[in-house]
């Protein structure tokens, strides 16, 4: 058989047989009824009350969660405040020490300058005064 004949034979239209459309619809039917299917676990809303839990218990749980979250936030804020206050104190301590050292060196330089005086009668000549 020639290639052209083989190709024509392979591509020739086939008769689907009687009630073809009905058979196709019958196969589609099981997936066409989503409302009757059991809802999947993922479809349950996160905040939905689980079956069997009373409204009071659910409210208690929600209140506990809110309280725990608030307590956590208050704790973090307290911690941040304590850290900030500690940093503030450290800054003041550091500046007090630095300023103290700079003052001390200034005092020494002033004292050293005061010890050096011009020699009377010779303004260009300096001499150190011994206290």
């Amino acid at each position: 058989m020639r290639f052209e004949d083989q190709l024509r034979d392979a591509l020739r239209p086939l008769d689907p047989g009687p009630r073809f459309a009905e058979r196709v619809l019958a196969r589609l039917e099981p997936t066409a009824k989503p409302d009757t299917a059991e809802p999947s676990a993922l479809a349950v809303p996160v905040l939905a009350r689980p079956r069997g839990m009373s409204r009071l218990v659910a409210l208690g749980l929600a209140a506990s969660m809110t309280l725990a979250t608030s307590a956590g936030l208050v704790f973090l804020e307290t911690q941040r405040r304590a850290e900030g206050e500690r940093a503030r104190q450290q800054v003041i301590t550091a500046l007090r020490l630095t300023s103290g050292e700079l003052n001390e060196i200034g005092r020494r330089l002033t004292a050293a300058a005061a010890r050096v005086e011009t020699v009377p009668g010779d303004p260009g000549r300096l001499e150190e005064r011994v206290p």
Binding site: R80, R81, E83, G84, E85, A87, R88, Q90, V91, I92, T93, A94, L95, R96, L97, T98, S99, G100, E101, L102, N103, E104, I105, G106, R107, R108, L109, T110, A111, A112, A114, R115, E117, R129, P131
Partner: protein
Amino acid sequence: MKPSLFRLVPSLAVAALLAAPPAAQAQTAKLVWPNLDGLAQKATDAVDVTLDRALLQLAAGFLGDDEDEAAVKALLRDLESINVRHFEFTSAGLYDPAIVDSVRAQLGKGAWQRLIAAKEGASNTEVYAWRDASGGPGGLAVVSTEPTELTLINIIGKIDLARMRQLEGHLGIPKVSPHDAPRPKPE
């Protein structure tokens, strides 16, 4: 086997980095304190302040708006970090002079310049300034030694000494005017 030039390039680059002058490697005003852990145990009073930029910003947020604290806040604005170690001892010779030598060795490198050195008896105070690339102030270091005291200060950032002086007499910072200096006795 003769090594190709391409194989030699990474080795040459590493060698060039290692051979770079120390000043080029250490372009930072940050001083590395030697191990001072043992000193705190010997000291009667020890101060350890280590504040990076984030903590300085946090501290600034907790400073008030009155004149004194606003001045500190303004001072902190341009600072990158503050590191202070201060020890007081009951008797002399309780700290190793090598600690001071190690810090002084770092201050002899980079863009550090000694501004002032004042010696009085056994007490010695040196103030160093770090110049940034533009020649402006980029940091301050103070090394102060007394027989029973050791103070090491390293402040990085644009420190304004005029503003620092404004803090004298406030927030517990002592005010010492030139008139407080001991005057020579009249002859």
